[in-house]
Amino acid sequence: MALRIVSTSHIKIPVKKHLLCIVRGVVSALHIPGHISKAAVSILTPDLSHIEGLITEDVEQLQNNLSARNSSFHLDSFIRQWRQMTALRLQREDLEAKRVEVTQMMKQVVTNATGSNHARNVEEIKKEGIQLRTQLKELTKLWWEIEEIAVTRALSLPNYLHCKTPVEDNTEVYSFNPEKSNLNCLCDCTEENIKFVSHSPTAFYLRGTPASLELRWMQTFSKDWIANGYNLISAPDFVRSLVIDGCGLAFNDPKEVLSLANIQDHGSLEKGNGLHLVGGSSLPAMVAFLTKTVIEEPFPLRLISVGRCYQPVTGILGANDLTNTVQASSARLLTVMKNCPDALFRELVFIQHQISKQLEQLNVKFRIIATAARNLEPWEQYCSSVEVYSPSSKKFIQVANVSIIGDYICRRLSIYGPHKESPGFVTAQALSVPKLLSCFFI
């Protein structure tokens, strides 16, 4: 989750700290700090129990991870803030324990209301109690501020790197070059049948053959996956900011995820429970199904969703490019399984193999690339990019991808396996129709 400048006008704080908030600019939908807990919605607590180990025993590994990803995360300052937060929390717990002691002393003194010093004792204990309450209040306020910084920065740490992730460069792991490419068979992919319009950013129509292909590919590809043991689900297209943040995306960055305008009774971005348009075949929509649950059976659980996927445009708007559209029909897979690096990699290889078979049946030239660490998303441990060759643009276009996530999302969104452990995720966008269609332009 990148640092950015965001409005924090919903947080009532003095001006000088408001400036600090602007510079700091990190606000999380997963962690609602104590001083705004009444103004915002929080239904879960992300599991950050691994952070302590990460910054003590595994700090070198963490540093290597950040370097490999070319991350701008400033580790030293984070470690200082985390330790400061921990120290304050311990102080607070001490003060709280003392306050409880004093309260009990007061009860005893009041009960044994005898002796000449009774009134003086009550007065002294009362004074001590008030002092402790004041100290606790001030310390709590300070702790909340530091906690907000430390926890939101902890949540912005990227995922571990899988041992098989190439560090230096993208690496080709597979390629397929048919004797005779199938690309010429779709002569109906002309400008009349694939038409960009100005009805909204990157809006386009498919007419006739490309529209039929869209439907047929979705049907065929999903049936293949169901035959391979995947369970079809039909998911909603909206998710809350909490789920977006849980997936490691910046929920209030308009370049990363589409946000809906506030609507009465539907929540708001300011409260951390806004709604985002992601599409039923997106990762957040599938993850929402499992958020705050214990998955007992089946395990591993394999899910597939087909439908819309919506995302902000990257790059130049108005380029009339099917590889860069706000709206796409797609198929998304999600496997929930034991969080073991080798098993996760085997699952990835299996998915890769099935996608390869589907593309080989289409008889198109394609390759599979293992993505280098610096090109990974923060939530990915490993990613394979499946790229089909496009003769019209003379380059390879990514039409599918498979990623190992591990337990990164599960820890953030309270998702547990049968034994209350954090399971691992492997996910894939198994098909993106506009991107695959773009490879059929002649």
């Binding site: 992300p46 439907l215 039923g280 919506y310």
Partner: protein
């Protein structure tokens, strides 16, 4: 006047449409576009001008019927205000006319479509045209859709408000497959009947949506929007009808190509809420999949009426082949909304709810949308005329599923699949209780359940 067409660069002569009422005819002059190249051009900008039927609206002989129409439809629009503005325009100085013209256009566009004269006798109740099929007579109590689906481990609607928003749902396993089967079955049927399949954008600028008769700005708007500060004017479409109509914005279609029949599968987004008990569950939701029929005919009521009848016949055929009992209703004036000249609804019997529920609608919008989107046809004598548009639901998935599961439920809780859908489900004949249901348990507590270190 001669000038060069900005689209094909050919020289053309302007031929304004002269109104019968010549006083106001030049209010809305249009220039005939060129005809030498492709006749079907798509809109590339948002600067087109709507052309209301000023001739009709400004004729004093029509005021009474227009006013009565507005009142019967319980709609917006004020013909008296329009009349006043026309009078003012007539007597205004040149410098005042521009501003008055804008107000005139605004008021004229608020007036709803005309109504089919046959509807005047209906009063406030729909007219039942026919009711094929029969209500089932079972010896067991009919279960409601949610109970059936949950018992079969096919549906989730609980604990989703804080994750995916209000009134959201997940179809699981065979129910999700049934959704896909319905879509493919419906599309296959439409393609056999000469419909061209389209894939449409779900996001549209507000002007396109309003041109189809849906308000995007009022407090009670049903339209979702993207955050305008970030994305500008982008709305989520409530039906593929809007995108299909918008496909022809500012188009000039040769009359020989008409009628055009289009079909599209899209996600539909509607912010409308309901506290009515009968509409609980997935009966009224904010997001759903729909297969839509859309048609364009020449600007002749006989042609658009004929296409409307064809759409209704297709709906009847589809629902009958799914084994549904339904009633076909010719809707009264106050149910038409602004754009429809005539509307038919089909309500399927839902035994679990003990009621008929609307599963489809079909409307003839005559030239209402065409005038707002500037869609015209051109004949062999180069005469332009606004087209008529017709739309109809071929399959609205959630309500069709409600009707299907409730109508085909068995005494043991299983559901038989209509034979028409079985080929799309690899021959699956019944929805049965799963031998290995999902065991995915919701966690009520906010705290983490474990503290294990990540590997």
């Amino acid at each position: 006047m001669n000038f060069r067409c900005i689209i094909c660069l050919n020289r053309i002569t302007s031929r304004p449409l002269i109104s019968k009422n010549t006083k106001y005819g030049n209010l809305f002059n249009r220039i005939n576009p060129c005809t030498s190249q492709s006749q079907l051009r798509l809109n590339t900008n948002q600067s087109w001008k709507p052309i209301p039927d000023i001739d009709y609206l400004s004729d004093p002989n029509n005021y009474e019927i227009i006013e009565s129409n507005i009142k019967s439809r319980k709609g917006t629009g004020n013909i008296r205000m329009l009349k006043e503005l026309l009078t003012k325009y007539n007597s205004a100085e040149t410098q005042e006319k521009d501003e008055l013209k804008k107000k005139l256009l605004f008021e004229a566009l608020k007036i709803p479509n005309r109504s089919d004269p046959r509807l005047l006798s209906y009063g406030d109740t729909p007219h039942i045209v026919e009711a094929p099929g029969q209500k089932p007579a079972w010896s067991f109590p009919a279960l409601e859709f949610h109970t059936i689906a949950r018992n079969l481990d096919l549906l989730r609607t609980e604990n989703l408000g804080n994750l995916t928003g209000p009134r959201t749902y997940y179809f699981i396993k065979e129910l999700a497959q049934l959704e896909q089967a319905l879509i493919h079955f419906t599309v296959a049927a439409l393609e056999k009947k000469g419909f061209t399949l389209f894939s449409v954008p779900d996001l549209l600028h507000s002007r396109l949506i309003e041109s189809c008769g849906m308000d995007t700005k009022g407090e009670r708007t049903q339209v979702y929007k993207l955050e305008p500060e970030f994305y500008g004017d982008v709305c989520l479409s409530g039906t593929a009808e809007m995108a299909l109509a918008s496909y022809f914005t500012e188009a000039v279609i040769p009359v020989t190509q008409l009628p055009i029949k289009m079909a599209a599968v899209s996600r539909c987004y509607r912010a409308e809420t309901s506290n009515v008990q009968e509409e609980k569950g997935i009966y009224r939701v904010h997001q759903f999949t729909k297969v839509e029929m859309f048609g364009v005919t020449s600007g002749d009521v006989a042609a658009s009426d004929a296409l409307l009848e064809e759409f209704v016949a297709i709906q009847k055929e589809l629902f009958s082949s799914l084994g549904l009992h339904y009633q076909l209703l010719d809707m009264p004036l106050h149910e038409l909304g602004a754009p429809a000249y005539r509307k038919f609804d089909i309500e399927a019997w839902m035994p679990g709810r003990n009621m008929y529920g609307e599963i489809s609608s079909a409307s003839n919008c005559t030239d209402y949308q065409a005038r707002r989107l500037n869609i015209q046809n051109i004949d062999s004598s180069n005469t332009l005329r606004f087209v008529h548009t017709v739309n109809g639901t071929a399959c609205a998935v959630p309500r069709t599923l409600i009707a299907l599961l409730e109508m085909h439920q068995q005494s043991n809780g299983e559901v038989t699949i209509p034979s028409a859908l079985q080929p799309y489900l690899d021959g699956l004949e019944r929805l049965r209780k799963p031998s290995k249901p999902f065991k995915i348990k919701w966690i009520k507590s906010k705290s983490p359940q474990n503290k294990t270190k990540s590997t």
